[in-house]
Symmetry: D2
Subunit: 374 residues, 4 copies
């Protein structure tokens, strides 16, 4: 048995998403039959010491306190970027300059201009890019798109989407990169998920208008202090959207939604059926074929199983549930396939840029809302 | 035991809502201890024969083929109007002229101007009016308002409402009063329910903008024919709304929503909790106090029971479920109390007019949508 | 239009169930096209004064403080018995002696012997009997039986049933007829509902074995006192059951089930599908055709609508929900039809006796449980 | 940074569970801070060739076509057994003889006597054993046990448990080890899961009685043939159980349950509350404190999050969902901790033997059911 070629991975950052990436690269080879064998080669973190510690914890061969070293290292094939959003551009640019493939967490960058520069550079570099919109990797989401494309619910006429969580619901959650006026806010942070999913499922969005609110006007300037500073980003944004197909609907981004831990959800209504999904129950998809409401018709609850690729890579039996980290494993498997020359399912930088354009357009619109007084 | 004074009811129409009214007047005295005893005195229907037949079926003492007779009849105290929407104004005007109390089905009328005339006439007449927004009578909706008013979820910051049904999902459902350009469309027909509920729960709506779609561009001109004519009203409308309090959100009206038989639903998010409701499960209300998502916190499912007035009038034990017709009984009980001099909880004509203003404003806005191209 | 013949109803008792009967007789004529027109003729209650008061409240023409008068009254056609269980036998016997039709609340009586005497007397009298197992009247339950009979889920192999409520969960709920050793206990009170439903859906039960517990060993002897007396009946009973068809399963009766207000629920598994129901969501029925768990298969949620008789008698549109009191209206409609000569769908006394035999057999078995030590 | 000591793992079998073990050993170090570093040292499979192939796929250093070699290999510290049930005893005995720690899939063995021999041998060997009842590792199950132990629902009075799946619902699923009269059947295969969970949550079961059915009387003798042979094991078993505490209830094992892919579910009722769980929604736990059914009381849906150890090892944010494979990672982390000297949370062989005793006792009882004819 000949060994597979290696794919040497350099990971920047070891926080929530960094750990998640590390886990995915560690697990993926045993679950997917891939053309390349990923190697956890180097970890970059904020200091040398932290990097040494986290590299050991996450199983990386080497470490560095400076991501520039990682990007420049000739052994590295792929740079995975999970650093704070504001650092995405310099890291990505350095990686692209060195000819690396780039796997970047969402959002691509903090501003539209930055994202545009990164996308242009990536296209010029001719490498493979992937952006971590992990929720798209869910077999149930893939199934939904296949059902839509197959016309199982007729022509799509409306979309009602939302990403609501509660992690900023407490007014004493302090300021952070999330509330940085440059790139922050609920719309950018999680609205981007429902926008990317809307595009994945139904294609380009052509028109928008929005309205936003800052629910908690001030927050502590940092953890452990009582000093507060104004919040300049949205806690909740609502928008009307229109797709190029003519389908219309609404989206909501809300990070102060009490009671909601993961309501990334939507309902797609077609002329001959409907689909309903919530990430709260990510292993389920509801489908109604036809109008429903009849003698034995209505929504059928589909439970994830081996007939929904790539579920079977994780488990041969239905009902055993994929979890969040499994979505990242699927993402990494798709990335490795793309690097090996298969079709890149994306989202690549170009697609992430399209999402960011919509975020920016809605945000701009919210500054001069179009609602009319009664 | 002295007999209660009678309230002699004249009912116009014996269709879906007419039967529902008749049932409510027949049942209410045994369930509520009311100051007046309603008597099913006269039924008006489209012809004398039909009226005789339906009066017998619904237990009315007398009948007429002409609603003018009913409105003018000196024994009638209350005129209940369940005729087609286009007839609401003439019937109500005749009843008001004769000094009757008026109980009118929603929508109040087909146009804003008509509704304004009716409201002005009612105020001049000094009688009691009630409009049949029956979904507001649900003890769970009353509970929700009480919880909001008591500050149980903090300050309300957003509302996400919808009324989606599937009764027009089939493109072969023929034209009817529902698709009449004068007063028809999903927004007017069921959007009015979610608007009235939003106002009931959270107060006045100050700003709106909307977007609508006609999903099925043509429909048969009548049942049993293949000849089709264009549809000039909306099948689905989405709107951004803003309340006077500053709370924002979205509403949707959709009568072609496959899979949905009664998704009159909403989520109210507050600064310290949330409430979730759907008429699909009308005997349940979800509440989360605090942000949720903690060790043992999250949404609690409240099931309707005798601690939620006026549930106990129907049943002394929790979990036994009210149904749709029970909501109409509650409505009628509130109406009779109001006629006897108690506080009118409404919606009266004035409130129905406010709802209609919002419907009209959104509809107007949909003619020149405010969404912007990307 | 000729008037229908009258059916003069004498009602004994005006508590929870008495009010429910009264409401049903008042409402039924407007909702169903029946051969007889029920008249609320006479109410019997514990004293003359109470009877006068309740007759007025519930719309009965006459009243009496002695049910013997009612049973003997020559104008009465039908005696409806909602008195305490211990009085069922004497009242029913008096009514039968006078040749009345009898409509009796469940359980038929407090002991098996009493129920047998009543059933024999009813058969001898040749009148129509009906026992108030109202949950069987739900259109969703009727649909379930039709689906089973039509073989939609193959051959039935198992049944998992339960009736759990919380009304005795509090150890300070005082003694009452419910805890009377003669006829009381959770198994008799609500176990009878799940047993009657099991028989309605799947036919005769041939074998049982059970195990029961008294959760709260003492209760206050009456409301408002601290003096407590031992509880001699079951709070919860579990049983293995076998049907004549060979299908097997379990039933549970539990009136101290925290969190449950109306979990009268079951799952029927067949060789080619399954059905799931809970009275907690009484307007829904889940069906899976085939094994489920496939690409787009699983449980479909059927929502009650006009294609599920007799839902359409209450409302012409799906999704509008029947409530508990509507079930009693259906029961009364079936009773009136039976009195007019149509097929009696039951449960009549004979069927109620069969249910009681099963209750008694399980209760006896619980006295010497058949479980074996490990 | 000093390297951790290695724990060299020998895995026997690379099917469903073998792959699952391999994934867990590969992932665990990056997710948990463990005292030992597991190394995928050797894989044993049915032939040398298959073993070579699967070792490469699953990342094992070495391979063998004979598990005897693996058990005897001096470098191996831990033998993980995922071979067919009938091979558990010889493999485990060989591993114990060589002084290895043993991690064995459930059921421990095919017969009670075999399990007893294995348990005695393990105790004599003084090594660490673990049996793969992975569903116990769910943070929601751990939370449930903590809530029960803390008295949050009062004294436990009843348990209603079930493990129902549909993988044998199709009568054309052929014979396999699952239908081997020696150790097969639904009760042994998945009934053991609900029994182990019942014991984990509520302690020892003292009494049982059962009733079972073979739903499909014959099955194809192997895949691809039409020749059928009788099925001699149960497809569905129902049992009454009693705990040492006096709590009572039922359990069901059913592998032919149409519509159910993973209904490993239970309801625990206490004197002051209740808990409800289903593996179908494994990231949720319902709790009702107090009787419920009141003004704002009822079941609260708890969603898995970082306050439920060890969820935070996988993700720092609530609502992100663990999946089935994550449960195995937790199991492996607990095993490694135990090998390093920490308290073994089990289930060890002794506990698995206790589960098997209950399975055997119920199975024996089903041969002469204790139900009585009516």
């Amino acid at each position: 048995m000949t060994e597979k070629p290696k794919l040497r991975v350099g990971l920047v950052g070891a926080g929530f998403m960094g750990r998640c990436h590390a886990n995915a690269f560690r697990s993926v080879s045993g679950l997917f039959d891939l053309p390349l064998d990923p190697v956890a080669e180097m970890l970059a973190d904020v200091t040398d010491d932290v990097a040494v510690h986290n590299a050991a914890a996450l199983g990386f061969n080497r470490s560095t306190g400076d991501w520039r070293n990682l990007c420049a290292d000739p052994t590295i094939d792929l740079v995975a970027v999970t650093a704070p959003n504001a650092l995405h551009e310099p890291i990505v640019m350095a990686a692209l300059k060195a000819g690396k493939h780039v796997y970047c967490e969402k959002p691509l960058s903090t501003t539209l201009e930055s994202a545009q520069r990164m996308t242009a550079a990536a296209q010029a570099a001719g490498i493979v890019t992937m952006v971590g919109f992990n929720f798209l990797r869910n077999p149930m989401i893939r199934l939904a798109r296949e059902l839509v494309e197959a016309g199982e619910i007729g022509e799509v006429v409306s979309f009602r989407g939302r990403h609501a969580e509660n992690y900023m619901a407490d007014p004493d959650v302090p300021h952070s990169f999330r509330t940085d006026p440059d790139g922050g806010g609920a719309l950018a942070d999680i609205g981007s998920h429902i926008i990317s999913m809307a595009r994945y499922l139904l294609g380009p969005i052509s028109h928008v208008t929005g309205q936003s609110r800052t629910i908690h006007k001030t927050r502590p300037i940092s953890a452990g202090t009582t000093e507060r500073a104004p919040v300049l980003v949205d806690d909740a944004t609502f928008a009307l959207i229109e797709f190029e197909t003519g389908a219309v609907g609404t989206i909501e981004a809300n990070w102060a939604a009490s009671g909601r831990t993961m309501d990334l959800s939507w309902e797609i209504t077609g002329t001959r059926g409907a689909l309903v999904f919530s990430q709260e129950r990510m292993n389920e998809l509801l489908i109604c074929k036809g109008p429903g409401g009849g003698h034995t018709s209505g929504f059928t609850k589909i439970e994830a199983g081996p007939s929904h690729p790539p579920y079977a890579n994780f488990c041969p039996a239905a009902g055993h549930h994929l979890g969040f980290n499994d979505l990242k494993v699927i993402e990494v498997a798709q990335l490795i396939d793309a690097i090996a020359g298969k079709q890149n399912p994306g989202p690549d930088f170009q697609e992430a840029l399209e999402v960011q354009k919509i975020v920016s357009r809605i945000a701009l619109d919210c500054q001069s809302p179009k609602t009319r007084a009664l």
